[in-house]
Symmetry: C2
Subunit: 499 residues, 2 copies
């Protein structure tokens, strides 16, 4: 069994010795068995085998890999995996499950970080992996329409051959699927430039819990005929419907790309560098990412990566993407001169060739991987006002003291998005209780969001109140009830158990 | 009584002689009186006068201007206008109206084109005009938060003084309000560059029909905690809730702006120019608009505008906005050389100074105004695949023959959005019946949208089926029922009477 987490990385997980956390069934995880579903019967199995011959999987070895998330932090006990190829098959599955009150866990690339993509108990796993066809691409408008199971990197490669790019890019591109990206409203590395999926996704095809198919696929950039229903499903983590196809507006492939890797001695100087960068790079700025020195140490230690510049407190990855290489070089040169002259940046290196660009990007992209080698990782994905971002890391480091192995911060400065990660030698209930709800209270104090881009899934659902008012949560529950009255779709996810 | 439709234009409408169309009550407009509301009683009036002293208006002269849309195409007969200043006042009004089953017509700048912003019968008009405070602006993130009644141009001016711009701009900026812009998901001239309001609106405050206040205001760019409820209200035309405040992400003010006004001999060449433009201007392209020669003739005839270039079949307005004036000039120069050398463009002029830029833009922006002087105007706002856009104008011209005075096309080529306008000497039922449903059938044949950016309002609501499947319309009705079970909010708008 193998799992890609970046395009260039293959992690082998030996599941024969893997015991899982077994925490789903423990009281500590606060998942009450609110509405027990009957187990899949022989008759049910016969129905599915007739509908999906050869694609109705009960093999325990295969199921094991689908029951656990890639971080090995959450584990379900599903005994049935379905692999539909068409929207009609998804519709028939859900219609049957709705009538029989069988719970369903929709699963894409299973790269989520909040336990949203695996079953909690014995929900049937509906994998979109075989729904991987590109349905159409319009060279004039740049609109691609494809099935939900297309892997992000495959779409990127397809588009780059045609002189376009996907409007989103993320570390998990080698295995995450576009349906899952949309269902979780994934952010990633290009959001600063191309905006969120709420703007770039033009249309969806969705199957509701009842089996009803909603077709909002479109090849149009603008459509104001009634309520924009597709927005309900973007970011709903499979709890309101299963996304089966997507149309997305793709930007032209930029003719020139440059990456700069810079060092800063303080977060204050990093922010000043960002302000200067927005002014001087303007429309060609396509990413502004950071990692702290603690991240760099983990990369050096666990992945043997070599820091390409002098040691520093903070490292910045800046990417430019534009239509004129000379203009872009000149803008970047002027910017670098300005930040070096004013001592905002103390050292740096620039890449214009593909291989070196990839190498510099991989420093930022492989932090997640380095963390997995450092022990058990508690992951937090926080939105904050820019000036507060790093204070959370510092406060947490001081607050936890010796309790944690490492407290590190990295993320998307340009979007106000911090990835706060805390490692320990092994899973540590006392440490988790020290972190939570402290981290959420801290975030709420500065009116941040407790999930910037990862979603709520299983792990964060009961903390929604730190970012949303009770009236909003009540309305979300009304919507859930309207679309999935029997709560068969991805139960125990997104919405809180109480309130 | 005066009404701004562009920043530089003041139209005086003499309403003393205006009779209105009186068509709302005619069978022809297909507005069944489905749920008659009791008239406002003396007790009701006393309640409102106590809540809004001096801002509870019953003066028939004032009401007349609020009962009619600016095109004088739709007229209601409301006898009560309320002017709240705070969200709490809006909440108290709606709570009372909900209990008393009094229908409410939310009204912003009243610049809509589909009859969505005026009452149909005697709905109470709730004007947001006095809710015009800017609540906060963050210079670092560029996020502005303001009340719904802020006029778009005032926000633009406020931001430009602080080196930012609004992400949207439209001809009606001098009177349209940001709450109305968001409620109708307005598109406009900058969508090509900065995307739709679904991406740039970060937060909303909304009052539901029950009077409940939903506060989703935020100063964060990313937030994935539960369903994105604000999207329900964007583009819902006041039928699901009243937007009382908005937070929007604003781009930096570009350091250099250039406008080119070009002539093309065919639509095919215009499209080739667009493709070339996207490649060569890339990230600095901020608008690509067109008008046909019929529009130019109306501008010359009714507004005495002078065509700045040689006569041609099509005219293009291209705007660039960037961070480096020299680079932008060079890109524009290279592009113009390329399209002139390949005979895609036969004549053109370029402006870099503010006054000349405004003059060139006004040619495009004042087409709407020129049409109002040409007689009664039938307006259609259609999304189509780029290559089909102008074929609709040509087919319509041929199909209508002598029945119409003028059939003209203009709009946002970059967004696939055509404004098809048909004029006649006076309102002409036979002409309208010739146009509709022909225009909608034509659009549906090429999988276009019958409303790209104007919304459905009163006029287009019964044509929704040409762009949306019955399952989607049914779900919209479920959402309406969930949020406004007594149907007090902007009745007879957006949703179709049947099906």
């Amino acid at each position: 069994y193998s799992l890609f987490i970046t395009s260039s990385l293959l992690i082998e997980i030996d599941l024969s010795s893997y015991q899982g956390d077994q925490t789903n069934h423990a009281a500590g995880n606060r998942v009450p068995c609110r509405f027990p579903f009957s187990r899949v019967s022989k008759q049910d199995l016969a129905f599915f085998e007739n509908l999906l011959p050869g694609r109705t999987i009960v093999d325990p070895d295969v199921l094991m890999t689908h029951n656990v998330d890639w971080m090995k932090s959450v584990r379900g006990s599903s005994e049935l995996l379905l692999r539909p190829q068409t929207t009609e098959e998804v519709s028939k599955i859900l219609k049957y499950c709705c009538e029989r009150r069988l719970a369903v866990n929709p699963q894409g690339g299973n790269t989520g970080l909040v336990g949203g993509s695996v079953p909690v108990y014995d929900e049937i796993i509906l994998s979109t992996s075989l729904m991987n066809q590109i349905l159409s691409f319009d060279q004039v408008s740049g609109i691609i329409t494809c099935q939900a199971g297309c892997v992000l990197e495959n779409l990127s490669n397809y588009l780059e051959e045609r002189d376009f790019i996907m409007p989103l890019d993320l570390g998990a591109k080698g295995s995450c699927q576009i349906g899952g990206n949309v269902a979780t409203n994934a952010g990633g590395l290009r959001l600063l430039r191309y905006g969120s999926l709420r703007g770039t996704v033009l249309g969806l095809e969705v199957v509701l819990a009842s089996g009803k198919i909603l077709n909002f696929l479109t090849a149009l950039r603008k459509d104001n005929t009634g309520y924009d229903l597709k927005q309900l499903f973007i970011g709903s983590e499979g709890t309101l419907g299963i996304i089966t196809a997507v149309s997305i507006l793709c930007p032209r492939r930029p003719r020139a790309v440059n990456v700069a890797f810079l060092g800063c001695s303080s977060y204050k100087k990093l922010l000043e560098t960002f302000q200067c960068c927005r002014g001087m790079l303007g429309e060609i700025l396509s990413a502004f990412e950071f990692l702290d020195s603690a991240c760099m140490k983990l990369l050096e230690k666990h992945l043997k990566l070599i820091n390409p510049i002098a040691e520093n407190s903070f490292y910045i990855v800046i990417e430019t993407a534009g239509s004129n290489a000379d203009h872009d070089k000149e803008k970047l040169h002027n910017f670098l001169e300005a930040v070096m002259a004013s001592f905002l940046v103390t050292d740096g290196t620039v890449a214009t060739e593909d291989a070196k660009i990839k190498a510099l990007w991989s420093i930022r992209e492989r932090v997640t991987e380095a963390l997995t080698h450092d022990g058990y990782t508690y992951k937090y994905d926080i939105s904050l006002p820019l000036e507060k971002i790093y204070q959370l890391v510092e406060d947490m480091r001081e607050y936890l003291g010796d309790k944690a192995k490492n407290v590190v911060g990295y993320g998307h400065v340009g979007d106000g998005n911090l990835h706060l990660n805390i490692t320990s030698h092994s899973k540590d209930q006392a440490l988790q209780e020290a972190i939570e709800p402290y981290v959420y209270e801290w975030t709420a104090r500065y009116r941040g969001s407790i999930s910037a881009e990862h979603g709520l899934g299983l792990k964060k659902r009961n903390y929604i109140h730190f970012s949303k008012h009770p009236e909003a949560v009540a309305l979300m529950k009304d919507i859930k009830h309207m679309l999935d009255p029997h709560r068969i779709l991805n139960p125990y996810k997104t919405l809180p158990d109480q309130g």
